[in-house]
Symmetry: C2
Subunit: 182 residues, 2 copies
């Protein structure tokens, strides 16, 4: 019953799901979020509005579903041999991903509709960060807390992306690793 996860993974349901998700992302980049309604999304996706209402119910749930798909599986956890190298590579990738206006628009919209919208954007990032720290810990190194790493690495990055208009380039993001690890 989880919204957006069809019981039939392949076939028409998957096509409809992909078309609707793509329609949301396209509309968010082109127009203001004000005009983003279910019928408009359905028309862009080439799908009947009833289908969108029945599968997702609310614009908020649909946006959360889009955010969850958009921010999952797009970045792979690097393995350079050292925690510092992993974090620097990873931060560069995350910053590059956030530099896309399309990505930013999806994230803004997901935040605006409810509580779970923001969490859906960073859930995978937290899991990746925990995986890197865990691997380093299993190698015997002393690692910072996951909470602290998220605060000092993801905090400034996402803050810049949302609240300022400064482009968060990959090099600057890599420099944040120094703040965390000294």
């Amino acid at each position: 019953m989880t919204a957006g996860i069809p019981t039939r993974p392949g076939g028409r349901s998957a096509r409809v799901r992909a078309a609707v998700h793509r329609a949301v992302e396209e509309l968010l980049t082109e127009t203001s979020p004000d005009g983003l309604t279910m019928p408009v999304i359905a028309a862009r996706a080439g799908v009947h509005p009833t289908t969108v209402y029945r599968r997702w119910g609310t614009l908020g749930e649909l946006l959360a579903s889009v955010a969850e798909s958009r921010f999952s599986g797009d970045i792979v956890v690097p393995d350079t041999g050292s925690l510092r190298g992993d974090l620097e590579t990873w931060m560069g990738d995350v910053a590059t991903d956030l530099a896309d206006p399309d990505t930013l628009a999806v994230m803004r919209a997901a935040i605006g509709v409810g509580e779970e919208g923001g969490c859906a954007c960073v859930a995978d990032r937290h899991a990746q960060l925990a995986a890197m720290l865990e691997r380093e810990a299993s190698r015997g190194g002393s690692v910072p807390d996951v909470e602290r790493a998220a605060d000092l690495l993801l905090g400034p990055l996402y803050y810049r992306a949302i609240f300022t208009d400064s482009p968060a380039d990959a090099g600057w993001a890599r420099g944040l690793v120094v703040v965390l690890m000294g």
Copy 2:
């Protein structure tokens, strides 16, 4: 013609403006942002919907106006004699302000509607930070860059408020000053 700034500061216009702003804040705390429409806001404020449409035009502009008023003038810049003391006191105040669910709901909604929504939430904070750093510089002390201070102080604070469900308490926020100043 700037939205939300009446040419007549006193009188009925100001009363209507205050009533509408308060209605937006109340509705954001009670219900989901989905049902936040102009007629609903007008009904809560005891004002005709036409008035809201004519003064603000769009829900996005109204929310940006509310955010700008909400995050301006509520926190005073402290003056403890040292930059570290100023920053610690100020961070505690900002964290306490952000801990209010009402404040958080306004911020989320403002972010969701457009580009300027996020900037309206932190414009005053950046000005206050710049004022504190400027005062310390005029005393002869060496101060970090405003950008860097915002990254390391406001970044983790706002990141936690929006993307996680951990309560950002004042004590933790004061501890962030150590990261910036050593």
